[in-house]
Symmetry: C2
Subunit: 446 residues, 2 copies
């Protein structure tokens, strides 16, 4: 730890690595390389840069269905776990978080794969636990309907408990490796999982000795009541979409407050809200970057999106004219996103926006906090969130990749380091060490 | 192709990478490193060496249960797919074959993961298709009993057909990537799988553009009637355990003869029998290496194994005394491996072997062809098999690793190259190119 870091609360940084970036129109930007979206070298370079910047971890999302928007935009492509396993071989220190669903997997596979990743990476594996959404996903696994929300979380609890039992089944001293006597393992130090739940069961033991972290860091991003109580029990790292510092403070207090009921303390779970930074040498330049990306959203895609939300075909409307208010359904007739429907219609009406302007205004961060400013302004914001109890760090979601990462690393990271709120060197080797979770036990079955 | 290679049949070589080696006692050898069995760097070095030797591919086996023998010997540890994904990042040319079971997986996951591996490796992915064995595996997936043999293969056929449909669903020209117009993909060039079978169904499409090989090379090692007819339909690479050149010729003729029924020609499937070479500068030195490893089998493990096979507890018998013939069951009472029971008892009786001698004599290759000799003798054997129509190459299974691989690469490979029956350079980039399978279409659903 440097002198500046002494005694100061430290930011944790995760890079959410997503093809051409987090802005929906990023792939259309002249600096984007959408033709590299399935090219490993493209991601390898970004991962190594994040590691040079001493970030805690890299996160990769994962869905088990083709995105409806594939006509209009590049969608995350390479499978998350495969990519993290490959990145493990070309990085040394940075944590590797892969997403996998408890609804469409088996604990034995997940336990074996993540334990293998933890061995290969020397203790850098993390699992983002999701329950998936939608019947389209279900149909890719021989089911007609997706499991109900509460049943999904019921299964998720069972799943993680079973996996933790598998991971912790091998004692640290289970391996004898006595070549002389011909004895490899002490079988009394290898316990079966013997888990029997309502949704799943698994016998065990796992066919793999205990890995460096034993249990990969457990990550979660659920926001519903069920999701939060799941996080309170199991998660050590939480991603969340928070539109403002106020909402982030409330979420932070709520989630940390839930830990005690599980015998856990507030340091055992780190909360990283999403951050979408537009970085410029002046504030005006940053805002110009944002505007430029938003404008690229005006295309078939933006119209398609808006048509879907408003449940009205807008393809024959002039882009520079108003919404066809007379053809819109009444709010109470809207299926699905009623609140968002109202918000958009009111915004357009009150500010007299054209369709083009409405698309531009709403193209942004999908609910994640967006900031456009100089490196100093962005560091100010991050520090404010850290000190106000809104965040333990951030899930960095550059709107445009790789340039948004390059800028963040070369301009914002040094500023955070100068302030003593972000590491200049890794002090440990495992992800749990980077996150300051060592000394505390990993989640245990109860 | 070098001058020597012109017009000669070429050997294909696959390295079966297995912890400390294929001899059951290898881990006890002074040159073994059993403490590195879960260390990625150990495998990385071997993989890179196999690539320097221009081998076609590296194979990793996979089971979903703890081996009963874990007390006595190091067992394959890191999950096969995870390892191959990591190796993809640190190799350039060599094919990467990971094992996964059709009995305990879902086609969507397998398709997505192997397509990702194929992208990451630039067209080097292969899938060893297995159906798994035993109720102990079933219990790790919430089932009481393993699926019956014929049902397993029924499911396997459906599984591969569904996966192939997912892989081939994206046309080569499905990606538009038109940044100007804001159009990423031509949805009319992305087809759903819409597979509905008796055992499984999957809607699709896959959420990943077509990979370099489209379909990973399909590998298989089933030996039963069902296994062979599965291979005839789908496999492009077959591993097999053949104790002699005669049995190998028969197997080769049988399997190649089955291809026509599926509209395939003999070049579309390559057969690689296992080869366990003990390499010495003299034949005597090679035989001494074999004897030394066989002797290391005498331990609790050898006794435990023999006790299980003979269904008689031998732990109180002097190792240098005879079998307790009076306590052995009658052959017809033996459950399980009756033929092997008779073979062992007859061998011991006829040659008046002590228990120690019997263990040593039977410790070897698990049915794979074993040869002990000089590099010239081993190359002679390989060439003979190739030219006699017993093999298209070999699945190299060094008895002791890594030294057995080092010796093979430095001593046998140059000899094969001098004879013009093995490449000195890769001529292509993908595994299908290495195997001479290009120009032919990958397996297709019928
Ligand atoms: C930063 C972030 C990343 C997420 N990544 C994924 C993902 O990769 N796959 C997925 O199915 N869901 C993902 N989600 C969705 C959450 O797991 C969760 O389902 C969602 O926030 C709704 O909460 P709920 O499950 O409690 O209803 C992500 C959410 C956030 C905020
Ligand atoms: C070289 C070789 C490697 C094999 N690797 C595996 C493996 O990794 N996992 C597995 O479950 N079975 C493996 N098997 C077993 C075969 O897939 C097959 O089940 C076995 O040969 C019995 O044939 P059958 O399935 O037709 O009855 C392997 C067999 C051979 C010869």
């Amino acid at each position: 730890m440097s002198a500046a870091e002494q005694g100061r609360r430290q930011l944790h940084l995760n890079l959410f690595m997503l093809s051409t970036g987090h802005h929906e129109a990023s792939w259309r930007h002249r600096d984007a390389s959408p033709q590299l979206a399935a090219d490993f070298r493209y991601y390898k370079r970004m991962a190594q840069l994040a590691e040079q910047a001493k970030m805690d971890s890299i996160f990769i999302a994962e869905k088990y269905r083709l995105n409806k928007m594939t006509k209009y935009r590049v969608i995350p492509q390479l499978e998350a776990f495969t990519m993290q396993a490959a990145l493990a071989a070309v990085t040394e220190k940075i944590g590797l978080t892969a997403t996998a669903s408890t609804t469409y997997n088996e604990p034995y596979h997940i336990a074996r794969k993540f334990a293998s990743l933890d061995h290969i990476s020397g203790g850098r594996a993390a699992w983002n636990i999701v329950t998936s959404t939608g019947d389209a996903t279900a149909r890719n696994f021989g089911k007609e309907r997706h499991l109900d929300h509460s049943l999904r979380y019921e299964r998720a609890h069972e799943f993680v408990e079973a996996a933790v039992r598998l991971w912790t089944g091998w004692a640290e001293d289970a391996l004898l490796i006595d070549q002389e006597a011909g004895l490899y393992a002490d079988m009394s130090r290898i316990k079966a999982a013997d888990y029997e739940g309502k949704h799943l069961s698994v016998a065990g033991p796992l066919n793999l000795p205990r890995s460096p972290q034993a249990v990969p860091v457990l990550v979660q991003a659920g926001s519903s009541e069920d999701g939060r109580s799941f996080a309170a029990r199991w998660a050590e790292l939480v991603f969340t979409a928070q539109p403002s510092i106020e909402s982030a403070i409330a979420f932070y207090a709520d989630l940390k407050g839930r830990l005690k009921a599980w015998g856990r303390n507030k340091e055992q779970l780190k909360i990283l809200p999403g951050l979408i930074p537009f970085i410029g040498d002046s504030e005006a330049e940053a805002k110009e970057k944002e505007r430029e990306l938003n404008e690229l959203s005006v295309s078939d895609y933006g119209l398609y999106n808006l048509s879907a939300l408003l449940q009205t075909d807008l393809s024959d409307c002039p882009l520079d004219g108003p919404l066809p208010y007379e053809r819109l359904p009444a709010p109470e007739q809207v299926q699905g996103q009623q609140a968002r429907f109202q918000l958009y219609v009111n915004l357009a009406r009150e500010e007299k926006l054209s369709i083009r302007e409405l698309i531009i205004r709403t193209a942004g961060g999908r609910g994640h906090f967006t900031v456009a400013g100089t490196p100093i302004q962005i560091a100010d914001t991050m520090q404010r969130w850290l000190e106000a109890g809104a965040a333990d760090g951030f899930n960095l979601m550059p709107p445009l990749l790789p340039s948004g990462l390059d800028d963040f690393v070369s301009k914002v990271v040094p500023e955070l380091q100068n302030r003593g709120i972000y590491r200049t060197e890794y002090s440990g080797n495992t992800l749990r060490e980077h996150l300051g979770l060592t000394g505390m036990s990993a989640p245990q079955p109860v």
